[in-house]
Symmetry: D2
Subunit: 466 residues, 4 copies
């Protein structure tokens, strides 16, 4: 670790989240003395990076700290001797996510962008890129930690370990911290009065909670979820459809927000179809509008703090998770953070060498996952099929094997198998042609077979080469 100050490289530096990240670093400067931050992006993201980069520099200039924000399109320059590499890039930008969501919905199937069909395609686009980054890191910053925020965070992080053979990686997500920020007040507690234990996969974890006398309060928190006056911290990007209370009490665990897509599949699909049919469009389109507005704000040469509007974006607390993790590694703090890391037995229901998202103590050696023990039978089953789906998706991403992709699709509990699902998959392949070179041959075949994109918005983006 550089003793004269830490170098951070942020891949996807043009993200609208960058100000959140800056705020996080500024708050923690005392324990994490950053010297330079390198934002990297690709040509298509240059404009956004310049806007957000200027704003990032303004944020630092408003502090007593002498930190320089560098902007570059040259990833290697940014990676050189970095101490921490954070990844928040989005291959194909939000336009790709619009396709991920709209194409399935155009056939009445969920387009959910993290673990659903959209998430599978995001993994296909992202994994080859992150493996390239890892190759660069081996050469340019072999001691750096890779802190991955890029979704699907679980699959991307697992691919880094398994196919990139890079162990110094931690996957992050704002969902656990979001729950921990909101839940305590629903039972009139503060976070430091409670003990949380999380276990599962990214966007597919559960938690149990105890008070600081060791008494379990999970049941009380579940009860509070059904009190209309209280807010249990569901991310802004998930429709707030209550879980079946009996089910939660039976499992005696609190699922994450994304479990709605599995435990209330019917209602979540209906909600997404409503959005699809609406003027504002699907979540990706809403986010695109929010982002455009955010970038307008960021252009203001007087704005030197994170604007309130960013919270709506859905990624609140991302920077807390990320900056806490980085600071905790740097200062060997052993903070309790929920991260994606190597299982090592923490969840005995899964193989020892896969990635899991679990309560961990974070220090200079990375994550020390807490051994959670076996899950209840039903959640064990859910977890095991999801992990299998993740693994097959990663294999498909790495090999470009069409049949493996179909296998992952049918395995996904959000997707009813059959001809329609296959059609959705085929359209998604065509629509993402530009970002899926590993599937080039099959995409050519599909196009020759006449596969076109039914959804107007997605088709238009595709035809524009976006």
């Amino acid at each position: 670790m550089a003793k004269d100050g830490v170098k951070i490289a942020t891949i996807g530096g043009g993200s609208s989240y960058t100000p959140e990240l800056m705020e996080g670093f500024i708050k923690r400067y005392d324990e994490l003395p950053i010297k330079e931050i390198w934002l990297v992006d690709i040509e298509e993201g240059r404009e956004k990076m310049e806007i957000v980069g200027a704003m990032a520099q303004r944020m630092w200039d408003a502090t007593p700290y002498d930190v320089r924000v560098h902007l570059t399109l040259d990833r290697k320059e940014a990676l050189k001797d970095a101490d921490f590499v954070t990844t928040q890039f989005r291959v194909g930008l939000l336009n790709a996510r619009i396709k991920d969501e709209r194409i399935p919905l155009s056939y009445g199937i969920m387009g959910q962008e993290t673990n659903g069909p959209g998430g599978i395609f995001k993994a296909l686009r992202t994994i080859p890129v992150i493996l390239d980054i890892v190759e660069d890191m081996k050469e340019l910053c072999p001691n750096a930690w890779l802190i991955n925020f890029t979704n699907p965070s679980g699959m991307v992080t697992e691919a880094v370990m398994k196919y990139g053979h890079w162990d110094k990686v931690i996957g992050l997500c704002n969902v656990p911290i979001g729950a921990m920020m909101k839940e305590p007040e629903t039972i009139d507690k503060t976070l430091d009065e409670l003990i949380y234990k999380f276990a599962g996969l990214n966007h597919f974890h559960w938690h149990r909670v105890w008070d600081n006398e060791g008494n379990e309060v999970t049941k009380g928190l579940i009860e509070a979820m059904y009190d209309p006056k209280k807010d249990s911290g569901i991310p802004a990007n998930i429709f707030d459809m209550p879980f079946m209370k009996e089910q939660l009490l039976e499992m005696n665990m609190i699922p994450c927000g994304y479990h709605r897509y599995y435990y209330r599949q019917e209602e979540m699909l209906n909600h997404m179809l409503e959005e699809y049919a609406s003027e504002e469009g699907v979540r990706a389109q809403q986010v695109k509008a929010t982002e455009a507005a955010l970038f307008e704000l960021y252009k203001d040469p007087n704005l030197n703090y994170k604007p309130e509007e960013l919270a709506k974006r859905g990624g609140a607390h991302y920077s807390d998770a990320a900056c806490d993790t980085i600071a905790s590694i740097y200062a060997n703090k052993n903070a309790h953070i929920v991260v994606t890391t190597r299982n090592n037995g923490a969840i005995p229901d899964l193989p020892e060498d896969v990635a899991v998202e679990v309560s961990s103590f974070i220090g200079a050696t990375g994550a020390k996952p807490i051994a959670f023990g076996k899950l209840p039978t039903a959640e064990r089953g859910w977890l095991q099929i999801m992990k299998a789906m993740e693994q097959v998706t990663e294999e498909a991403a790495v090999t470009g094997d069409y049949a493996k992709l179909l296998t992952a699709f049918y395995l996904n509990p959000q997707i009813p198998s059959g001809a329609t699902a296959k059609r959705v998959m085929d359209e998604l392949l065509v629509a993402h042609e530009k970002y899926l070179p590993q599937f080039a041959e099959d995409i050519a075949r599909l196009k020759a077979e006449g596969v076109t994109i039914k959804d107007d918005v997605a088709r238009e983006l595709y035809e524009k080469g976006l």
Copy 2:
């Protein structure tokens, strides 16, 4: 084992399958010298038992063997000193199956009677009864083998082992033998020229095949499945919707017919909805009509052989599986039969102490399961969620716990979770009130809350007390 001839007790003796079973015993008399067969049924089944029992006796009378078929409503009398107890009973008769299938379909959800919603309810009705039978066996025939044909055969057999603490049990199904009877000719082979290895769960298994020089022929069999001139042995009760060929080649295993409900979920549901909307009605209604016709035939005092029409019933080869198993135990033959038995490690992806359906060699100690090794990733995931679903269903059957039942329902990959699924479950509980004493309290609550049965046919059966 009685040395002066074997005593068989058949619970659910009034079943239309009984002649098939008799035929099987007659064919194997030389290796399985039966002395007496006791058919047992309940009062509601008395008439059918008398018809089929008379016919069974005629079948034996047409042979050189002196075997007496006894009919009784007193289970204990039948069990006393039995060597083998076979179970083929159906709690609530076919009317219950009609409800199992129609109520879900009335809400657009599959009613599939073995592993789907119908199967869950069949387990709820059946498990308490089989556990009672086991208690009787402990007292009356503690050395007997229990040969279970009653569906859902996997869950029922597992419950016997786990909750009944009875190890001398084997679960049977005609699906594997059906495949083995039909597939070989599709590649111009006979069964004795091929080596089969099956692994999975009841109605949820896969197999690989080799020729007798040790070369794998699975791929050739898959190819042949797509040859329209060939018949791969799908049971008559499953709609013949082809699997995606890529998927099968990728997994390099042949799924069972019931996998259609998981791998072609969309098309199978559509087909069931068409039947639901048709004059003949759902599968259960068709079977009921077939059965009525069968019993008319059975009444013919000159009929002393299994009529052709029985094959249409969907249970072809059941007797082959059952009689082969019994004969193989009796004569310690080590025949290769695919049965449900204790895992013991045969499928390392599942706990050691659960029930699995695998290739086994059957002899005097019961089943010796062949260690199959790990499944491919995707099938591992499918298998694990199905086993979890089975286990939670069994717990619900034993405890009468409403939340566990809801958990099983949502876990079932055939059921999209949400309010509709819950409604279906609630209607099924009410509809089967008579056979679900363990859920009496919740059923009363549901009725008080005004839950009624939407489907006309099912409601009418319920109202008639059927």
Copy 3:
């Protein structure tokens, strides 16, 4: 947890360690506001308890804290409403340990008192007593934590969980803390500059170490072990025979001091045989002499602090481990402490539900074990046989089954199987007759068969009823 101050009950309160424990509590009074301490012992220990109890009170009286040390022979009185119960009793006192060590050595077999033959017999004597204590706790202090120091700490703690069905238990040992206290200086570091990860069983664990930049320093620590000028923290009660350096470098882990009995079996046995033949006698006899001297010191009405001489006793840092654990639970501190707790997957090479000794973070819910991951092949093998030996020993302790005991004996890697080992076992059974009621029948048989105790010292103790 009592809000008006903590109540501690210490079973085996007459132990010479009690002043060490008092010192630990006094140092941590700010975070662990103790109100009352109850020392309990049996009639045979009354005198020692009175001496050490008076001294304990003097130690508190020399502080500004108002803490009352109660002495009682009535365990129930002590347990009533206790917050923490600590166990440091020794069934049969040091005389039993003398027999444990001398009888095997009289036949040339190690008498090692924790995991060897002596340890097996200590488990047989202790487990029934601790299970009785647990029964009392269920009634009198159902929310208390049981902090077990009694050896063999791993087996005793596992028995509490498995046979006592008591989850709020933590097993402690001073070996890990001893290593952590001494090792850092051997590489010119302090403990807070290093990160330790321990995994294994009680007196059978290994550790790896990193610096606070995340670089592994295990190799450096191994090298330092062979520097004659340095002290790596081997407990005073273990003869300092160096490990084979190649072996340690190959495993890249640091074994615990007790591994000498497995990795240098020959030399350790020879050393013990030398002691056996010497004037001072075996370790137990040396300790007995030390203890007698300690109690003489404790009688001094002016002594109100822990005397230096206690360190020689071999249990240095016991109080640090114990008091840190208690304070960390009480104040929910998440301190890193190496404890015996439920595996939960932390060591995937062992079943999930056994007890292991691993690096844990200790808070209000007890131990959160860190998932260590799989061990190297050789250590996995060692660990698995030791865990099997522990489990069979516990079964023997609970059932009084002679054949199980023989099985445990032969399984123990310190014991060469055969007639001599069996003879040793038989003499130990007879010698401990008074404390092994569960083996009464077999002991009577052995005596009838003429089994007598060959070792003079042990026989004399036995004959005196000690």
Copy 4:
């Protein structure tokens, strides 16, 4: 498989076992129509091969079958298009075994040649050679089955699978068949009236037995072992020291003969030390004398059948195991044979991908291992440490890593760890210098350090370059 007759290649064709193998093939000619047998040996074995090869041809000539026995020193010629390759070679001949046994005994440590120190060194010498053979097979007979008799059969077979990546391998041993041949009569049964289930590792397995009505008779067989008038089939090469009866009844399994080295370690060591001190010398020396006599017999141009004297050699039934296996593969017979094969879950206490020795049904796809289920706790522990020892030994054999070898040595339950064991290991390395090129560097170091061979017989062999 060649349709015009089977080609067998036998590596180590000069072995004294060859006539036994011929007899086995002759007996099974009807089901295994052999056309040609190729005996291969190295220059040092040429003379023995010529003697035994001529005799083998005479044996065939005395039958009606036209089978040609070819002799060659060119392994590639023999392997070309072979259907079955059998391996019965001994690197370093019996002289190496003499060193394996005498050097440890010269220091009072067991020299046991299969799983003890001798076995470890035999693995070190053999594994590189068998891996070479596998490389040749990949080129010359890629469809052949490798039937390995070479000891340590478990380690050698595992190395073929794991390091040679060759799946068509089966490891054989005559111990299970020996037990099955002798035991039944001890309870007045014949083998075909009993059902055997074996599980464990080579020379480290247990079995349970049932009669053909499914009743367990293990206990009866154990009782019969203590009847002096009965013979339970211990191989001639193992000293007949009875197991502790209590121990066997407790485990309710019958150990194999080699378990004496673990369960009666003291007595077996004493017996070996007696032999070591005797005129005839250790077992290897006795075998060498027997072999010399056998070869004298074999030279007789009139001898055309297997002489009685061969049985004394200790390998009775080897040919039954081997020829049954080959015939069962060739004719897809599904015979029950106990073989070393891939675990696949058959013993859930061990990893799925290791080699185990278990009851299997043998057919055209090789071994179908029967899932045995978990072992009793104690045997689980024994098994796990032995498997770890095997794995570390194989790693040492492949890498030539001195520290790994030391680790395997200390892990071996027959070897008391410490300086003496290390000295034994060092002398064995030097003594086998010629056959351990992978350890050349360390051997040179040891010699430079002055390590010489204490045992006169072994030293003399070494000095003669034998």
